[in-house]
């Protein structure tokens, strides 16, 4: 699958990865990679500006946390982020449904 095909949905994947539990950047990327069976293999450094953008929009909160002797920035969904995830998921499902309908349509 070409990397660009779903680049517009990176934010949706990040919000979904953070649903239910806070995570730091490396864990988020590993989660997305494992959950997608390796389909989404982003340039990992580009995840951080995307996380920051979501934070700018008030959809995430973050703070530095010391774990295992290392400082990491841990992200979590805000209330607005939870609502945005629901909305974006519905939007995504509409897109998938529409594309599927076109793909399966056979002219009579």
């Amino acid at each position: 699958m070409p990397r660009d095909a779903f680049s517009g949905h990176l934010e949706l994947l990040l919000l979904a990865a953070l649903r239910g539990r806070p995570m730091h950047g490396y864990a988020i990327i590993e989660h997305v990679r494992l959950a997608s069976n390796g389909q989404f293999d982003y340039a990992e450094g580009t995840i951080y500006p995307a996380l920051r953008r979501l934070e700018d929009e008030g959809l995430l909160r973050s703070s530095w946390v010391e774990q295992d002797g290392r400082r990491r920035r841990v992200y979590e969904l805000s209330r607005s982020g939870e609502q945005a995830l629901l909305g974006r998921r519905r939007e995504w499902e509409r897109v998938v449904s529409g594309v599927s309908a076109v793909l399966e349509h056979r002219p009579a």
Partner: protein, 130 residues
Amino acid sequence: MSGAGERYLGEVEALLGGPRRERRRLLDELRAHVADAVAAGSSEAEAVQRLGSPGAVAAAWQSRCAGEAARARRRIGACVLGLALASGLAVAGHADAGHRQRPAHPRPCVDSTQGAGHARCAAQPQLGGR
């Protein structure tokens, strides 16, 4: 972090724009990311390679900064509009209050139809009286 990682961070830093504190935060996160990858068994060179080219990271960062700048402009616009509306309302309220304090047709000092005015007039000393 050794040479490869620090070199990479230096290249990214050279391409970043925006406030110093913001840039520092991104670099700290990239540094922590490499440390996590190394702790998970990758070599530092592999971890750096998986971060993507410095140009790709900087481009994603610039995109975020552009979005933030647009949001800041919208906030400023909203503030200016809010101030303008508040000023307009204040001026209108002031003018309205002025109208209420100064009626268009001032009542005459002596109004024989009103008891108080009549009484006041009646209470005035009669010049040239007894």
